[in-house]
């Protein structure tokens, strides 16, 4: 015998705790039979009555959840806000941090521009892992009976209302001008560097060979930074997500620059013809090292300053 009622009972009892299964089964079967009987007494045929009664009782999984007093949600209102806050906090810097480290390591192994791919890939993987494990943890907490004592909300947690924009317009304009000038300088120095060869031709400061890849790549990063400045101004204050993006952009510009300087590929070798000081390999190494150290120092100071601002504005 495998009537619709049998199938309905089996489907309902599947997810009801074992120790109460038989009793619930007997009671529910009696109730269903009562409901069917009430309809057949009214002149309905048994098959239609059975279908209607089971339809009225609805999805067996929902009914089973009501019997077991189980919540039909992954993370309920008690933990949702804490889950969301932790998720945002973790995603705001860990994937970017790990991705950057991977990219730097790959770059140090001589992969050059190819290091960015693995960096982004790792960052995405880390983000997915964080989201997954955090959600699993909270889903388990939600399902264990033990209530976790969360600190209650107090008025002291209220963030300061913004009295003035967290990102002044003047700062944004200054940044945009600097970026535009830098972007413009890269092609400009190629044609007008005020250093002239013996034949009177202009000698670019930067190695013209870099135009095959590195200079366009740096310009792309600078344009991205330009867009970032506008987006940041529209958002109006520093967030950890913005900080992470800024760190990535800064590193995407500074790491190739420092690396090119250190490997003596930044400056035009032809400059040595005119500036005898640069013809000496030791001098070129010192200059390269200075550029690299200077770049690193600027990036670190900038990021520390930004991190402080972000902490103040998100606190």
């Amino acid at each position: 015998m495998n009537t619709l009622t049998d199938r309905y009972l089996a489907a309902t009892l599947r997810s009801v705790p074992t120790q109460r299964r038989d009793e619930i089964a007997n009671e529910l079967r009696a109730s269903i039979d009562d409901m069917i009987e009430a309809r057949t007494d009214g002149g309905q045929d048994a098959t239609t009555a059975e279908r209607e009664v089971l339809t009225e009782l609805g999805n067996p999984d929902v009914l089973a959840a009501r019997y077991a007093d189980r919540r039909l949600q992954l993370i309920g209102p008690a933990y949702y806000l804490v889950w969301l806050r932790l998720l945002k906090l973790l995603l705001s810097f860990i994937p970017a941090l790990v991705g950057t480290i991977v990219a730097i390591v790959e770059a140090a192994e001589g992969k050059g521009f190819g290091a960015i791919g693995p960096g982004i890939f790792t960052a995405i993987q880390v983000a997915v892992q964080i989201a997954f494990w955090l959600t699993v943890t909270f889903a388990i907490i939600e399902r264990t009976q033990a209530t976790v004592d969360l600190p209650g909300w107090t008025v002291d947690q209220l963030p300061a209302a913004p009295v003035r924009p967290g990102i002044p317009l003047a700062d944004t304009i200054a940044s945009v001008i600097m970026l535009v000038l830098t972007i413009g300088y890269l092609p400009f120095q190629h044609y007008q560097s005020w250093v002239h060869g013996t034949d009177g031709d202009n000698i670019p400061i930067l190695d013209p060979g870099l135009w095959r890849f590195w200079l366009p790549a740096l310009i792309v990063v600078l344009v991205a930074s330009l867009i970032f400045e506008v987006v940041k101004y529209r958002i109006g204050r520093w967030t950890w997500a913005l900080f992470g993006t800024k760190a990535l952009l800064d590193l995407a510009f500074a790491v190739p620059l420092a690396w090119l300087a250190l490997s003596d590929r930044l400056l035009n070798p032809a400059l040595g013809e005119r500036l005898s000081w640069l013809a000496d390999a030791d001098n070129r190494n010192i200059l390269g090292l200075s550029i690299a150290v200077g770049t690193a120092a600027i990036v670190v100071l900038d990021l520390v300053d930004t991190a402080l601002k972000t902490r103040r504005q998100t606190a």
Partner: protein, 113 residues
């Protein structure tokens, strides 16, 4: 014009707790699931079967209802009855329901239209 959906949600909210009160009152006379469902419906407490049956079990787990299997009739049925504990809790619930009614009445009278 209030939308039907909004109205239904508010009515549901308003009615939610009254099913427990109605069940505890009705089960002063022992009854089984489907018969109780019909009695409640007849007395103006329409309730879905898939809400009432699990609710009865829950009230039993909380000690507000006691139960007994009756095997004398055509099919064995589980009869529920309001326990002593359920009775004292019902008293508190009814007091509160009355208090709500009083408060609403007072509020209506105190507010000019």
């Amino acid at each position: 014009m209030v939308s039907e959906d909004v109205l239904r949600t508010h009515l549901q909210e308003l009615r939610r707790g009254t099913v427990v009160v109605a069940s505890l009152v009705a089960l002063r006379r022992p009854d089984y699931g489907y018969a109780l469902l019909q009695r409640l419906t007849d007395h103006g407490f329409p309730v879905d079967a898939n809400t009432l049956y699990p609710l009865l079990r829950r009230l039993e787990d909380q000690g507000l209802l006691s139960s007994e299997w009756n095997t004398e009739e055509s099919r064995p049925r589980k009869f529920y009855r309001t326990s002593d504990e359920g009775e004292s809790m019902l008293g508190r619930l009814l007091d509160d329901l009355a208090a709500v009614q009083t408060s609403v009445t007072g509020l209506i009278q105190g507010v000019d239209r």
